[in-house]
């Protein structure tokens, strides 16, 4: 096959992979503070995308819709934290896995009944035509994905590193009890992390919707790959997700080319199982020392 076609497929796959990276980044945020993550994050992406679409239907202009959509995502993240995570964390149980799945299921059913089961287009002012760089076609939508993903990740990282509230993140992540003794509310920090996680997930939804269209199942495949990216990169590694996200996006496009489109989900799943087998802490993750 023509090498420029293969390159084209790799590049457009990698750009899609950034969406997985962004959602995976959201997992890392909550995992850092609470060692938990939202198994219903895919439904959160979908639900906030539907909300954003509805805002547009009501006549809210795109550029105003984006911040509103992010706020909706943050609120949904807080709902998940309150309904599904807090109690389980207090009891130091793994119940949050089940509860976040359940909340996701509920959101799915709600979306099905409010907005219907059909996929709907997501209007965007970003042109869908492409330009040519070194013989590779890149669409403006793809550029918007890259800019949006890297932009918000940069902002959140700045927030974590430069503000006192952001430092609280690291403190709670390092030692929850010690942080509490220093006057940092661990509960609030966990809430904040879920809010931020919901926010980045909502942005992922807004960015990807013009490509995938909006429907109840729009995120069910994406979320599996976001899990893969998070696990393969390591749940406690910052920018590893970007590298792994780019790689996975490219690999799955190649798999879909060579093995057939039905197999495009497979590499992510296989990679996840293999990563867990070989490096449970991820490629970029740090091993922890067991203490007794």
């Amino acid at each position: 096959m023509d090498s420029s076609v293969i390159l084209q497929i790799i590049v457009s796959g990698a750009l899609m992979g950034l969406v997985y990276a962004l959602i995976a980044y959201g997992f890392q945020l909550t995992y850092a503070t609470s060692k938990s993550l939202n198994f219903g994050q895919g439904e959160l992406v979908m639900f906030s995308a539907f909300c954003s679409l509805t805002l547009q239907d009501w006549g809210v202009p795109y550029w105003l819709m984006v911040p509103l959509g992010l706020i909706i995502g943050a609120v949904l993240g807080l709902v998940v934290e309150h309904a599904a995570v807090r109690l389980a964390l207090e009891q130091k149980s793994e119940g949050w896995i089940l509860l976040t799945i359940i909340v996701g299921l509920f959101a799915f059913s709600l979306a099905e009944n409010i907005w219907g089961r059909d996929d709907r287009p997501f209007p965007t002012p970003i042109p869908s035509d492409s330009f040519n760089v070194f013989g590779i076609d890149i669409t403006w939508t793809e550029v918007s994905v890259a800019v949006g993903v890297l932009g918000i990740m940069g902002l959140v990282e700045l927030f974590k590193r430069r503000t006192l509230l952001g430092k609280a993140f690291d403190a709670v992540s390092a030692d929850r009890d010690a942080a509490e003794l220093m006057g940092i509310s661990a509960t609030r920090t966990v809430m904040l992390s879920y809010g931020l996680s919901g926010m980045v997930a909502a942005l992922a939804g807004i960015l990807v919707s013009p490509i995938t269209t909006v429907g109840p199942t729009m995120a069910s495949a994406i979320i599996l790959k976001a899990f893969s990216v998070a696990v393969v990169a390591g749940l406690n590694s910052g920018f590893g997700v970007v590298v792994v996200g780019l790689a996975l996006g490219a690999i799955e496009n190649l798999a879909s080319l060579y093995l057939g489109s039905g197999w495009r989900e497979a590499p992510g799943l296989v990679l996840l199982i293999m990563a867990l087998a070989l490096r449970p802490n991820g490629i970029f993750g740090k091993a922890t020392i067991r203490k007794v």
Binding site: V103, L105, L110, E112, N113, L224, L269, R290, V292
Partner: protein, 634 residues
């Protein structure tokens, strides 16, 4: 006897009722539901092994159901295989796949385990869908139900087959889970470190538990295929998985009855939803139960309030929504949410408590305690060196926690290990017991090199230990904590355990464990869960559990830490009794009175190095020791 009659009687009655139904009810629809109930019962019993006993969220069981179904279906469709051949193949393939998946999943806990199984489930559906040459993909696969020794299986006979298999699985599981295997599963859920340190081995137990649970999923899959006689990959997706979890959690984890009740619920749910009156009654009932909990406990905490809200939403929904089928997932979600939050032990877990109070079912009686000499035989004491450390080092990056320790422990002695906090005592003990591998140096036990960096293998070499931060199996009773660790007791291979051939050794294990509990003064609390014991009793239980290893060397890591004075006194008595049996002891301790009362030799560490050695009185006056504890004289 009463217990036996009630428990076994209830099981037998349930089986008879299930078996007799087709004789009286000829309705094919009802029979279909009952068949499905038996199949899901097998499936959920398998799922409960990981979800209940291993305590891990398993999202792969729907995948195993699918693989089992296709294995059996394809064998019948393509190879004309017989009924038992195809069911056996479904069982075996899932056993192997389960073991393969467990190998990576083995090191994982919590979310990582859930993700690994979730990925497996999704991968299974992808493969079934895409391998069209074999499975016909989304088009679906039609299967003719094979005959039973040439006898065609009509609906009733197939139902009886499923019930018989369910009964066999039930019996096998009951035998397995009430044996050392079941205890080991729970032990490794509560503390994997202690499980390894007690020589049980988390590795094979986790693999076998998961593989066996998955194999039951495969068996259920085979029956599923013959029941519906038509398969589609889309039947085995994530949604089914969530429903299966709903079944296990709603019925009650760690509970065979729970699995079957959960299965009944799953099977009846679609019918429940299609009948508005029934659905309304059901949601009102749920609401009443949840509200009753609030009234009874008078608490407005999230845990009691949230189920009321969820059930309230369900009631409102049941009266306003026209097409309940459209809201199926939301209804599942609300029910599951209420159960997970408000009734974590599930329906049967709760019912079991109420029933055993109601019928005053006595707990199974404990046997007479064994003679202690048979459990922990007196060991010959000589003046040889039992444990020798040569230039032992363990560094963590730049931190030299243990930095060149030499130590000789005489057989039959109580050897104290002292030092200020951070002097490297605990690290030294963790290296000896195999939690950490040494950076360099040698460790010899009785002239033979100790295994490095494996708790399990060090335990096998005859070293037992307790933990400074208690590592009890908190959900197990005191006697079960000790029974898990018993050495040289469980010899029946596990296939025989399934058929109930482990009763005798089980009886002896109980008696032996009781003798050890007596030694530390806990025989009256044998049935108390470890987490409900007082702090002092928990410390003593750790010692009894370590003794069950029949160790040559016992390491006690700060056994008196946090003990009140009378308990500390009792501890000294216990250690003296243990020492009197000829067991050599390494004692890490801060309480000087305890050390003086017990130790013949004391080694003092500071900064990872030995600074003094001698009798307790000698080291107390040693200038370096004084300096280490009080600071050097100016």
């Amino acid at each position: 006897m009463k217990r036996f009659l009630l428990v076994r009687g209830a099981e037998l009655l349930a089986l008879l009722v299930l078996a007799a139904i087709p004789l009286f009810i000829k309705n094919p629809f009802a029979l279909g539901l009952l068949t499905l109930l038996a199949i899901y019962g097998i499936l959920l019993i398998g799922l409960d092994v990981t979800v209940g006993y291993l305590g891990q969220v398993n999202l792969g069981q729907a995948g195993f159901l699918g693989i089992g179904a296709y294995t059996a279906g394809l064998l019948v469709a393509n190879c004309n295989a017989g009924l038992f051949t195809s069911l056996g193949a479904a069982f075996l393939i899932c056993l192997v796949l389960g073991a393969l998946l467990a190998l990576p999943a083995l090191r994982l806990e919590g979310p990582q385990f859930a993700l690994a199984t979730l990925s497996f489930g999704a991968l299974a559906v992808t493969v079934l869908n895409e391998w069209e040459d074999l499975t016909l993909g989304a088009q679906g696969l039609s299967i003719d139900r094979p005959t039973l020794f040439g006898h065609p299986l009509d609906a009733a006979w197939f139902y009886w087959l499923c019930v018989v298999l369910l009964a066999l699985v039930w019996l096998g599981m009951k035998n397995l889970l009430s044996s050392q295997w079941g205890r080991a599963f729970e032990a490794l859920r509560d503390s994997p470190i202690a499980t390894d340190a007690m020589g049980v081995g988390t590795y094979r137990h986790k693999v076998i538990a998961f593989a066996f649970g998955s194999a039951l999923g495969g068996l259920a899959g085979g029956l599923y295929a013959f029941n519906f006689q038509y398969l589609q990959p889309q039947s085995f997706t994530y949604e089914l998985m969530v429903i299966l979890l709903l079944g296990v959690v709603l019925g009650g984890r760690k509970n065979l009855w729970g699995a079957v009740v959960g299965a009944a619920f799953i099977v009846l749910l679609p019918n429940l939803l299609s009948n508005p009156m029934l659905f309304r009654a059901f949601s009102l009932l749920g609401f009443a139960i949840a509200a009753f909990a609030v009234i009874r406990t008078r608490s407005l905490r999230f845990q009691t309030l949230a189920p009321v809200i969820a059930m309230g939403m369900l009631v409102v929904g049941s009266f306003t929504v026209q097409h309940t089928e459209d809201w199926r997932k939301a209804i599942f979600a609300l029910m599951l949410f209420s159960v997970v939050v408000g009734l974590p032990e599930g329906l049967m877990g709760y019912a079991g408590k109420v029933l055993s109070k109601l019928f005053r079912v006595p707990a199974a009686p404990l046997p007479e305690a064994s003679n202690l000499d048979d459990v922990v035989p007196m060991q010959q004491v000589n003046d040889n060196v039992l444990l020798e450390l040569r230039d032992l080092k363990r560094h963590f990056g730049g931190v030299k926690a243990v930095d060149g320790v030499n130590l000789k422990l005489t057989s039959g002695s109580v050897h104290g290990l002292l030092g200020p906090n951070g002097s490297g005592k605990s690290t030294a003990v963790n290296v000896i017991s195999g939690l950490y591998a040494p950076t360099s140096g040698q460790m010899m036990l009785d002239g033979k090199e100790l295994p490095y960096g494996s708790l399990y293998r060090v335990a096998g070499a005859g070293v037992a230990r307790t933990f400074q931060n208690l590592q009890l199996f908190s959900e197990l009773s005191a006697i079960h904590n000790v029974m898990v660790a018993l050495r040289d007791t469980y010899k029946t291979p596990w296939p025989l355990v399934l058929f109930g051939f482990a009763r005798k050794e089980e009886h002896k294990a109980k008696a032996d464990a009781l003798a050890l509990l007596k030694l530390v003064g806990l025989e009256d609390q044998a049935r108390t869960k470890a987490k409900d014991l007082t702090y002092g009793a928990q410390r003593f239980l750790e010692i009894a559990r370590a003794l069950a290893r029949k160790p040559r060397l016992l390491i006690l890591d700060e056994p008196a830490a946090g003990l009140a004075h009378p308990d500390a006194h009792h501890l000294v008595e216990i250690v003296k009794r243990v020492h009197g049996r000829g067991i050599s002891i390494v004692l890490i301790e801060h309480h000087m009175d305890v050390v003086s009362a017990l130790c013949s030799t004391v080694t003092v560490l500071d900064g990872g190095q030995v600074i003094a050695e001698g009798t307790p009185d000698e080291v107390k006056r040693h200038p370096k020791v004084v300096a280490a504890y009080l600071g050097a004289a100016a």
